[in-house]
Symmetry: C3
């Protein structure tokens, strides 16, 4: 025997019920880990996308940011983020579970669960699997910011901000929604039963909008790159490596098959198959819609719009992917693909310089996706073949009125206000202590040589 | 409770039999989805491979084609392709199941299945999982074409062709073979029992040859790139980024672990392990064989031949991977690796300009792989440890005579004739309406600037 | 019915026990294959990492080496490597199982197993799954060498060395540790019971150090690249594509989620979740530690140090990932990240030219990781919630004394001595027959044009 992990001492052979339970835990754990690996790989997607869309003189800097940010997120989310988000506490934040410590008898579920992470007691996988899956989500939110502040932010300032975002701010609003906080228990009747709640299946708001608000705050406070806007209008600063940017988009699309279906955190065959198809359908329609919108509106099938259209569709369906039918997922993606083209041009018109379109994709389409829960959800049903038995109320477009739309709007506003205010504060504090922006001559020279002392493409001749 | 998907209302606790069945469905679904994700990722593989093998002035165009083509395939295959391929109908095409509509009680199997997708009733996974797995296959066929027509086709013309291929043509021949059509019931005895059938496990013909025939039609009708062939012979037009081309090859190799073993569409441990090993062995032998063939024949270990040799081995074993032993898979791959080197030079000698070698890899080795079923299959057996109980008859080389080789040849000819004729027609119709080829000055300038208004590697100095 | 693989003839319906066993085998097989696919993908990671860290004039050569090496490993490990490593034999090598031949009734386990691969009888998956998982590990060892000998080794010489390493040398030391050889049975009491053994969970020594020793031998015998060291000191030879190098690092990180947790070779939910988290934690701490060490020590946050720090943390935790707590995995990774920075500068100071830092990452941190088993292991325990019941004794730092550290040191020395001596011999034999190093003018011109007749980035202008 080389490895001894699997060996366990058992006096009596396990009963059939115990074996069945253990097989179910095995399946669920395998699914959650595979999904976590796919979401982890989105780090590579964001890294290639953002680097490719920026100029080569800043490539090393963006690569370094995207690589180190997940390492920092791991530390921050392990130390305090996971406890703030999923530890037992009050409606506003968790107050237990630092460094994954404290009581926990996972994989027990429901009433059998005894521990301090009750908000995750519904899923029957080991605590470490729950943590890893939530960690890769937390990492995503910081990665979104990276693109919007690229090409002018100080390396150390971004690192500090990432720690604050993934360790504190993302977990707090996450607690409100996924940690059993106030948005998950928004309206109650006289008996204390929840009658209305904000719903976000895989994180259009929890992850994407939060990252997007932080990105907006950062991009506004930093100001545009030198030479980006002048009295004669905006100057395009084209990306230096569209090959890797496209690869990044495809890696992200792959990762979304973990992001959305994996958010079941249990191997429910009907649900994960359905979610995989709604996710893919929305991404496809988003890509096609953005392509043709850009073709008509800008005169060319701009590849960066194809890329952002796909991502817009994926972000757009993230909140509702488990609760809408496939045709509605197509509509959600299609509209997201149209929205993103106009969002990019509008934000550019407002002279908010977002080199990769992160605000348009993650914030604007994150808000759109969150609204979609209130517009297109099927509504819970016990009928055979129904999509879900517990979840958002029937959406407005399907005749459900505003019952679900109102909680969605409340959640969007609350999370937006909190994140915008706190991230602005965070950026200001960082600015006061270490500064936000590299000196002008360093920005012109490129951050690679000035901040990292190396260049990304040694040996190639570049335009000066 | 944040998510409600997993919750189901049950009056009585499920029986042991029901739990066992549900665990099996869970396993099978997880496997099919993981395999589908791997095959989806082959889009990134083809994208990097084809882009890297072409010139940098057309990189954006090839990237855009490869990115949007899967989005279009999603729409076309959802709307009509899946119904044409797997919907109940006649021996020539399916006539039900548009937009995944119509009766279906999956995951019930065999006689318990009641619905309109009887050709897929043998696999016990939800309909959405069946659809996603088949969709990513359909997307592959269009991606194969992309490489052969690169650097001179109009963007819009390729988009229209992709819709026709994945929405109509690929599903029709697919129906013949995988949809319960005439090739799956080729010979019958007096009692109507099938005594001989065309077999293609994972798609050497269904996917690769079909893509290859369409690529051949396109490359011939388009003609070679300007300057490629002159009276003084052929001019090499070397690829611009062999790093990403090699990455593409490795991503494709990874994807094949979903493509071939996943085609079980059920978690049969012995089968998927065996198929994973035959697949990998053939790819390895194909790569080594092509390397040394090129070394001897061309004088250098040409990296593009290493890449195409690996792909040749993988395509070659795709049809027979479940039905041949590991040593025979080595032989199949080895011969495919030799074939592809001579196919590339021969097709070049015929002045058919295929920038990435798609016709040699997918068509020539797809035909070879389809023949291999008739040459090397073990034959069905009920004996313990036998590879399979139902499937192709024993191959010629193993003493089975021509019983299986004849159906394979019939299938190759029938699918080839249908696809070549219909794709030629399709290309002609597209040519008549919007044209096929970009104007000469645009081709010389590069499609990136002329069709997309952007370049892939801004800031780098290039040869003019 | 299109596919017949899953169909089996059964006279009596299977019992509940048989179905339960078959579901367990299914789960385990799925997990082992998914892990194998992830480890396979590490080939792409190494390929991008090593290519990006070298100069563009040698890119094709490094790409070709990394691509063909796994194909060669497949052949060598199938033919003899797997038999030498896991076939029954004596304490020093296996003597059965060539070409996967010989008796085997997998997936039976323990006493029910009858066959010639008893060292793998503890895992209940089909032989082909065992083989594939072990094959992708073997491939890794050769890939490690590739980076250290890059930019000056003859292509054919590297191919021959890879065959020897993966076919013979790696399997022999592997047999000592994982194949039931002498290091797995190091100390016995009077009754023949094993009282002390060398433990290496996922291969800090078996894979990484072995590759690292072979790399050290190669780099020393080859000598430094022309112009690397002169009387005036060392000249930096910066990598040509840091974007793909960073992508490579992220692919490797992803692959490690198969490498370490997959080494359970069975779906043990608690173990694989724990190992996934210790692995990730060590990688994260390694990256952060190396970043700040380099920042302080070299004055800049050098991206190549961030990359190597992450890899150092991952290599460092590989031996002990199943047997240490998460906080100790953080310590292991943190120290590995500091070590690697000084190892890189020290090895450079010794004028051993290792273009990618492979020796520092895989050898130095592999040794460190192997020691960590003796320092930080929890010790086996039957208590509920214990990490493992059979495995290494309690480590020195946790109060276990030197009981486990001594076997670890013996293993490090024995494997190091054997691998260093045999690889030096292998390199010498290859040198005598075909030579090791390309001629000086070819090295200056670049190996791409001289050995492969092509360049990686055609159309770009480069520095001459």
């Amino acid at each position: 025997m080389v490895w001894g992990v699997a060996a366990t001492a058992q006096d009596a052979p396990p009963t059939t019920e115990e074996v069945l339970a253990s097989l179910k835990v095995g399946q669920d754990t395998l699914w959650v880990l595979v999904a976590a690996f796919l979401v982890f790989f989105m780090n590579a997607g964001f890294c290639m996308l953002e680097t490719g869309f920026c100029r080569q003189k800043n490539a090393v800097n963006i690569l370094a940011k995207n690589l180190i940010v997940f390492a920092l997120s791991t530390i921050a989310f392990w130390a305090i983020g996971f406890g703030l988000m999923y530890g037992d506490g009050n409606p506003f934040l968790g107050t237990a579970g630092w460094f994954l410590g404290g009581a926990d008898n996972s994989p027990m579920t429901g009433d059998d669960y005894k521990g301090i992470f009750n908000a995750l007691s519904w899923t029957g996988v080991p605590l470490n699997a729950k943590f890893l899956f939530q960690l890769v989500f937390a990492g995503t939110s910081a990665t979104i910011v990276s693109g919007a502040v690229a090409e002018r932010i100080k390396f150390v300032s971004f690192l500090i901000f990432s720690l604050i975002l993934t360790g504190i701010l993302y977990p707090i609003t996450g607690h409100w929604i996924w940690g059993g906080g106030w948005l998950a228990n928004l309206f109650k009747d006289a008996n204390g039963e929840v009658t209305g709640a904000f719903w976000d299946f895989a994180g259009s708001t929890v992850v994407h909008s939060v990252g997007g608000w932080a990105a907006l705050a950062g991009a506004m406070l930093l100001g545009p790159r030198i030479g980006r806007y002048s009295s004669s209008g905006a100057s395009a600063m084209p990306g230096h490596n569209i090959s890797i940017a496209t690869l990044g988009c495809l890696i992200l699309w792959l990762g979304w098959f973990g992001f959305n279906p994996g958010s079941t955190m249990a191997l429910d065959p009907a649900a994960i198959s359905h979610i995989a198809v709604t996710t893919n359908t929305a991404g496809a329609f988003g890509g096609v819609a953005a392509t043709f919108t850009a073709w008509v509106y800008l005169g060319k099938p701009d590849l960066s719009m194809v890329i952002n259209g796909i991502l817009a569709g994926l972000v757009g369906v993230t909140a509702s992917c488990a609760w809408v039918t496939i045709p509605w997922s197509a509509v959600i993606g299609l509209i997201a693909g149209i929205i993103v083209v106009f969002a990019v041009t509008t934000i550019d018109g407002l002279k908010v310089d977002d080199p990769v379109g992160a605000i348009s994709v993650h914030l604007v389409c994150g808000v759109w996706g969150t609204l979609c829960v209130g517009l297109f959800s099927e509504g819970p049903s016990e009928a055979e073949g129904a999509l879900y038995t517990a979840g958002p109320l029937r959406g407005l477009i399907l005749g459900g009125g505003f019952n679900q739309l109102i909680p969605q709007i409340i959640g969007i506003v609350a999370v937006g206000a909190f994140t915008l205010i706190t991230t602005v504060l965070a950026w200001f504090v960082i600015k006061a202590i270490v500064g936000l922006r590299v000196p002008e001559e360093e920005e012109i020279k490129g951050l690679d040589l000035s901040e990292h002392g190396m260049e990304a493409y040694s040996g190639f001749l570049k335009e000066s």
